[in-house]
Structures are given as C-alpha cells and as structure tokens.
C-alpha cells in the first residue's frame, strides 16, 4: 500500500459554496443555472461607489462550520483585498481573509472501517469566508475568438477550508473529503454539489524521501481541476508516482534552484497532471484590509450558542447508533454516511419493530437497494418506517420468513398497501402448527434417505425437505419446518 521508499504529504484546500439566498456582499440571487448576467448588481460587478455589506446568514453558516470543525474562533476578524487581474473578477480583487481569518486550528477525524489506515485527526489550518469569481467560457467549436464572461456567480459566498499537510495517501485524502462533505451536509450549510461547483478541491502534494540520515522533500505541486472525489484520488496517486519518478531521474529538492512550488491541472481524459502557470508569490496579491467592510467580533457566548445548536454530528452519531441499537460500528458507519434523513428513517424503523439489528439489516440490504433502483432519496421512499416496522414484526413473530418478506415489501410498494394487506394479497397466512406437523410427517415418510441422514446427524439434509415444503405451501416458515422435522426424527 504505502511505498516504503517515500512518504506522501498532502494538504487539501476545499472551497464550499454556502447555501444562502443571496450573495456575500449584495442581495443578488445565488441560484445556479440562471440566464447569464441576470443576477448581478453594481456591488458584485465592481461599479465605482458601490458598497459591500456582509450577509448575516453567510457569516452564520461559516461560523457554524468552523465550530463543527473544532476550530478556534478569534474574537476579532476582518476582510482583506486580494488583488489580481482576471476577466471573471470585475472588482480587480477578491474579498478574502488574510492575517486574521474567522477561524483556525481545528481538526476533523477520519477513519476507515476496512482498516486501510489508522483513525487519525487531520488538522484544519483555517476556514475563512470569501467571495467567488464569475465564469469564463471559451467556445472553440463556434470559432469565436473572444471568451464570454458570465458574472452570475460573482460574489457567491465561499468558505475556504484549508487542511494541514497531515494526509499521507490518496485513500486518506478521499476519506477526509467524504467525511468533510458528510459533515457539511449534516450541518446543512452547503449542497456540496461538485457538478455545479458548490464544492471544489485543490490539493498540495509532495514527497518526503529518505536519504540515509536525512529526509529530502520534493517540490510542492498544487493540483487543480479535479471534478470528483475519484478524480482527486487518481490525480494524487498519479502525482505521487510522477514526483517519485521525476526525483529518481533528476533529484531536485524543495527550495533549491528549480525546486519552487508549481501548479498542475488534472486531465481526466488522459489521467495525467499537466503543468499550469507558475504560482504567483503570496506577496504579489498585495493584500490589504478592505476599507469598505467592517470587522466582525465573536464572543465566547456566541460561539457556545452556535456549538449548542449543532445537533449530533456524524462522528458522535456513529457511536450513539452502535451503542443504542446494538449494531456493529461498520453498520453504524454505513447508515450515518447515508445522511441524516436515512438515519431518522432507521431510528423510526428500529423503534417500530423493536429490533435495531433487524432494522439495520433491512435498511442496508433492502431499503438502500430499492432506493438505488428507483434512483430516489429516502424522503421519496413509498413505504414509511412505521409500515415497514409492521412487516419486520411479522418476521420476528415467525409469521413469515425473511425471503418471503422481501416479496411482501415489493407488493407493499407496488400496491401502496400495508404489510398485512400485502401478505393477504400474496396469500400468505400463518400456517397452523398442526398443519405444519402433518406436512412434516408426510415429507419424512416420503424421504427415507433424508431421515437416515438426519439420524446420522447430517443436519444439512433437512434442506431438501424445506424445499419440498415450500413447494407445497409457499407460506411455511423454513425455520419451523427444520425444527419440527428434527424433533420428529428424534422421536422415531
């Protein structure tokens, strides 16, 4: 898994669009997909004399996220201008945070239920609030020589979440992103839709290579243009190999001549990274405090009240579910990773059938499979937790077996009926105990070879009888047939 020849050092920068109605510094809509340049105003297109005012909700969502990421919240924060020229940045500067970000020094715990790496805390360097740029489109197909600029996105609130360089593999980077996305979803601060650009990932990666007593570091590469978590994973694998090969061919160390930081873009078609423009020095952005914006202060009481309102977050919820319902850590992980609405469904189901493990199995094996087939979310699932709970109670009572119950669930969906109605429709009735016994006697009489096997203790032989019994009456409970047959053979 990990190459002993080198250690991979990865830090991630995640930009997440906060779910506000309006932009960070003006009241234009942030909704995605509108006609180009229909959601702009003098503030977000940088007209002289316009004044930005901070969106209360954007700050609140940023603060909520920072607190959930275990960040320290300084009492005082301010915004700065980051100057650079690009056609999609009409003001000529981005409003960001430089030396006094709204939060820093947090952490996020990642783990792998399959044990690919140890559970560890990934440091969060900082999370700060800034405005987004617009979109440039170059339509080569139309043979157009100009780029077209749409400024609808300009000014949308972004939270930039910067991790410490604590990640040691592409697997860990993937786990960090999944856990971060899950947390953001639980918090309801972003829809995290990568296709719509609500969540964007840049990665910084280099290698530490053992050189006898000392360790040599390869030049840091910032990787951009990764449009899915899978792309991030692949790009990081590719880049680690590329840097190692490059080092073997020509060992250049970080900071030595030719060893400065570079930017590379991920090419998803070719599955390679390509060199992009040289990264400007940080000082070239000529940050200075934005005189148009006022600072923001947060008291300990403010932070405590935000913390108090967070609700149970994924890490804690996994532990709670495992403990409360007696399910495995792995199962709790699967349920929690599906999001809060599915967890709510599971909890309601577990309460309805009074059996956490059975509820967990049914949610994971059947509800998730059906949702996948329907391409639906749990909110759209046609069977309520209470209705499914009824069915699971019939199973617990021995009225129906697990396999037949799956048919019943399908019937409940098709006919939008209750468990009892679906069972009646399928002709499933509880088979009377005396009927069962006479059926078993018939079967034993007709199958002397099976009886002989059972007498010798070959219990698997009973399977043949169960098959025959189900043919005669599909509603019999296999477990009951098995125990009755074994009991009868003992009496022979």
């Amino acid at each position: 898994m990990t190459n002993t020849a080198y250690e991979t050092i990865i830090g991630l920068e995640v930009h997440v669009q906060l779910q506000t109605n309006t932009k960070l510094f003006c009241r234009c809509s942030t909704s995605f997909g509108a006609e180009p340049n229909t959601q702009t105003c003098p503030v977000c297109i940088g007209m002289p004399g316009s004044l930005p005012v901070m969106n209360r909700q954007a700050y609140a969502l940023g603060l909520k996220t920072a607190v959930a990421l275990n960040c320290q919240i300084p009492e005082f924060t301010k915004w700065d201008r980051k100057q650079y020229f690009y056609p999609d940045l009409p003001k000529g500067y981005q409003i960001s945070q430089f030396d006094l970000p709204m939060s820093e020094h947090g952490w996020l715990e990642i783990s792998d239920p399959k044990g690919a790496f140890e559970t560890k805390k990934i440091g969060i360097t900082r999370a700060h609030l800034e405005d987004d740029a617009g979109k440039s489109m170059h339509d080569e197909a139309a043979g157009r020589s100009d780029s077209r600029i749409d400024l609808n996105r300009t000014g949308t609130p972004l939270l930039e979440i910067v991790s410490d360089p604590d990640l040691r593999s592409a697997d860990e980077a993937r786990a960090y992103l999944s856990e971060l996305k899950l947390l953001l979803t639980y918090l309801g601060v972003s829809d995290c839709n990568m296709q719509e650009g609500s969540l964007r990932v840049d990665a910084n990666i280099n290698l530490h290579i053992a050189q006898g007593e000392r360790t040599a570091a390869t030049p840091i590469v910032e990787v951009k243009n990764m449009n899915s978590f899978r792309a991030v994973e692949r790009a990081l694998r590719f880049e680690a190999n590329r840097q190692f090969e490059s080092w073997q061919a020509n060992p250049v160390e970080l900071g030595s001549p030719g060893g400065h930081k570079t930017t590379r873009g991920w090419d998803d078609q070719m599955q390679i990274t390509r060199i992009q423009r040289e990264k400007e020095e940080s000082s070239d952005y000529r940050y200075f405090p934005d005189p148009d914006l006022l600072p923001v202060t947060a008291t300990e009481a403010d932070v405590a009240s935000v913390r108090g309102a967070l609700g149970e977050l994924p890490a804690a919820l996994r532990v709670t579910l495992a403990k409360k319902y007696g399910i495995d850590a792995y199962d709790a992980d699967v349920l929690v990773n599906q999001g809060r609405p599915l967890v709510a469904y599971f909890e309601e189901l577990a309460a309805a059938c009074d059996d956490g493990r059975r509820a967990s199995n049914w949610v994971q094996q059947d509800v998730l499979r059906l949702l996948n087939e329907m391409d639906a979310t749990i909110d759209q699932f046609p069977v309520t937790a209470a209705a499914l709970g009824e069915l699971l109670k019939f199973i617990a009572a021995g009225d129906i077996d697990n396999t037949r119950a799956k048919d019943v669930l399908q019937e409940m969906i098709d006919a939008q009926s209750s468990a009892a109605e679906a069972m009646a429709k399928l002709g499933i009735e509880k088979v009377d105990a005396s009927d069962l016994e006479s059926l078993c006697r018939e079967l034993l009489a007709a199958n002397p070879a099976v009886v002989a096997d059972l007498k010798e203790g070959k219990m698997k032989a009973v399977g043949a009888l169960i098959g025959q019994a189900k043919k005669q009456n599909p509603n019999v409970n296999p477990a009951q047939i098995k125990s009755i047959c074994i009991e009868l053979v003992k009496q022979l």
Binding site: M54, F85, P295
Partner: protein, 96 residues
Amino acid sequence: MSLSKADVEKVASLARLKLTDEELSTMTRQLDQVIQYVQQLEELDTSGVQPMAHTADLANVFADDLLRASLPRDAALANAPKRDDECYLVPPVLGD
C-alpha cells in the same frame, strides 16, 4: 528608502499597465515622493498603540439574507466595451 525603476515596473506589470520609458521615469519620481511623504509617519512612536482595522469604530454590520432585484441584463452589460446578447466579451482567456 527610495523606489527603484524595477519596483515600479513590477507594480505596473501586476496592475497590467504598460509604461513608456518616459512614463516609467515620471512614475518612479512621483511614487517615490508619495512614499517619502507617507514615510514621515514613521517618526511617530506607535509602541503601545493598538493596530486599527478600520477608522469607523463599528463592527458586526450585517444585511439580512433577503433577495433584492438585480440589474436588468442590458443595464449590467451597458458599459462593456464588447458584448453579445448575454455576456461580456473579452480577449481569449488562455488556460484556466
């Protein structure tokens, strides 16, 4: 400190300004004077003075997250040197 021509060339380049040799000389002299003027502030003893982020003694000024009408597209695009029906047009942007 005195400003060099190289300093001014760098600042001009970051601001995407193209200066003739003559303009570069004039700018270097004028910017140098501006800096020297502001530099007089260094004569003040500011030890024990809290850094100030803003001249207004205010903080926590927010607006509620309530939608307001945006500019009509034609008005937004009105000042663009070049445009089509929907977008601003700029010389081709290379790379990303």
